[in-house]
Each structure stands twice: as structure tokens, then as C-alpha cells.
Amino acid sequence: MVVFDKPHALIDVPLHYCPGCTHGIIHRLVAEVIDELGIEGKTIGIAPVGCSVMAYNYFNCDMIEAAHGRAPAVATGVKRADPENHIVFTYQGDGDLASIGMAETVHAAARNENITVIFINNAIYGMTGGQMAPTSLPGQVTQTSPYGRDTKHCGFPIKVCEMLSELEGPEYLERVTVNSVKNIRTAKKAIKKAFQNQIDGKGFSLVEVISSCPTNWGMTPQAALKWIDDKMIPYYPLGVYKDRSAEKEAE
């Protein structure tokens, strides 16, 4: 009996990501969820600009490549074109979602747009070769912060889940990571909930996945996963930041 194999929603082609990059794990989790919910035929994914720009080659569902940062606006259009029959997700990195596309992110959340957002936070611009991201940690060395991110000069990282949780709009916000089998299981549950919420018409659901970038962090894949535990999670604590339905039930 097969207990684990590539999900149907993930196309059987080699991924272009660097060795040990966790994008591949997150792609697979999204595809597994699409399979389990039986929604591949009605799902439309929106790829960002960044490392996952070519995500459209990897998912078996219909795919759209958006301009940098504009995925939530494109998703809004696709969803509203046929709200009953379209399941729409965006897959965006930190530069795409939290820098150039911040307005689109905040307003889609504020509108409680009924879409699912998978937000990959690896604290760096990977595709362009490792520049400082809106989520790069204080002191983090990158190509454009070669002496470490100086918060006096260029400010502080943006904590997306915390920030969006202040809005009344969004349905569900959770931060997870994929640096261990246990954490991957939790991440998958969160992603599944984010899609289920859309199916149930509950609205904007965002899962922030703390991810690794061994190449641009200048580490082995193993050290990068440990760096997530040591540096990223203390700054970006994991957990549910908003779950409006659960809050209502609790009341």
C-alpha cells in the first residue's frame, strides 16, 4: 500500500529550487490539501514574482502569473469573476507580499476577500540573489545590508500576521514553519483550514510559512532549518493570530 507519494495536484517535473529550499515542501503541502479537498478542477493559483515565480509550472490546476506584489488584486478579480465556482489561492514571498504588494495584501485582508494566501517568509529576496527583505531580521547580513540590517538606518522587519490581526476583516491568520516533520504536520493543517475556510465562504485566510533559504543565508540546508528555530521563530512566534469563527464559537 502506498502511504506517501507525490500528490496529483503537483506536476511530476523537477522543481527549480536550490537544494534544501523548503519551497518544495510547501508546494507539496498545498497540492496535498488540494487533493484531499477534491478541488483541483476548480482551483486557480496565482504565482508571484520572486523565487516561486514559476510555481505555475508545478501545480496541476489552472495558474496565473501576476505582476510583482499584485497577486491579491489578481486573486480578487478571479474570485469575483465566479465566486461560486472558483477556489483561488496566491503563493507569495516576503518581498512580493510584505513590500511591493503590501497595499494589495492589507486591502484584500480588510475586505475579507474570500481567498487563500500562502505567504512564504524566508527573510530575504532569494531570486535576485539575497537582498534585504521587509522581513529580514535586525542585524541580518544580506547583499544590501552587508554590515547587518541596521534598524536605525532602514527600520524594522514587518510582522505580517501581527499587523493584519489588528484588522477586523480577515477570517484566519496563522504562522507556521516546515523545519521538522512535526512542524510540517501543523503547517499542513493550517493550509487545509485556509482552503476549507474559502470553501465555507468564511473569507480571507493567510498562512505565513517561515521558510529557509540556505543559498542566500549562506548555510547548509540543515543549518538553515536550525536557524529557523534559533533566530526566526523567536522574532516571528508561531501560532494562530486570528480565527474569527473560533472566536465567535468561544463567545
Binding site: C21, G24, L225
Partner: protein, 68 residues
């Protein structure tokens, strides 16, 4: 006994599966090089594998199929 099948040519030799195996049954084959130029992952003792799929879950390239 469980069975692991590796899509060896898609392996990038990152070694995350090696660390994930609770029984330490995986290694990167230092004597082999795949099409991409990496030392691919392989299982050292299939008999010992219980098919927990931890390796497959950690694999970013989804190259491991697990059967029980």
C-alpha cells in the same frame, strides 16, 4: 517491511531526508552521481524501514515514494 522508492535523478542531495529518518537508515551515496551532479539519497537497510515517511515529508523535491 516498508519499501522506499527514490526518483534518484530529481534528488538534489540536500540531505534533509537523512536527518529526518528516526532510525538513521538513509545516506547520500558518495559513490554515485545523478544527472544533476548530486550524490543522491539512498536507503542503507530496507529491512529496517518501518515506512514512517518522515524522509518523504522532509524531502523538498518529493522524490520518495513510501509503501507499506
Amino acid at each position: 517491511m516498508a519499501k522506499l522508492t527514490f526518483k534518484t535523478d530529481n534528488c538534489k542531495g540536500c540531505g534533509l531526508c537523512v536527518d529526518a529518518c528516526p532510525k538513521k537508515l538513509l545516506r547520500l551515496a558518495q559513490d554515485k552521481i545523478n544527472k544533476k551532479g548530486h550524490h543522491p539519497a539512498e536507503i542503507t537497510d530496507q529491512e529496517q524501514c518501518v515506512g514512517c515517511a518522515s524522509c518523504a515529508m522532509m524531502c523538498p523535491d518529493c522524490i520518495i515514494k513510501v509503501e507499506r
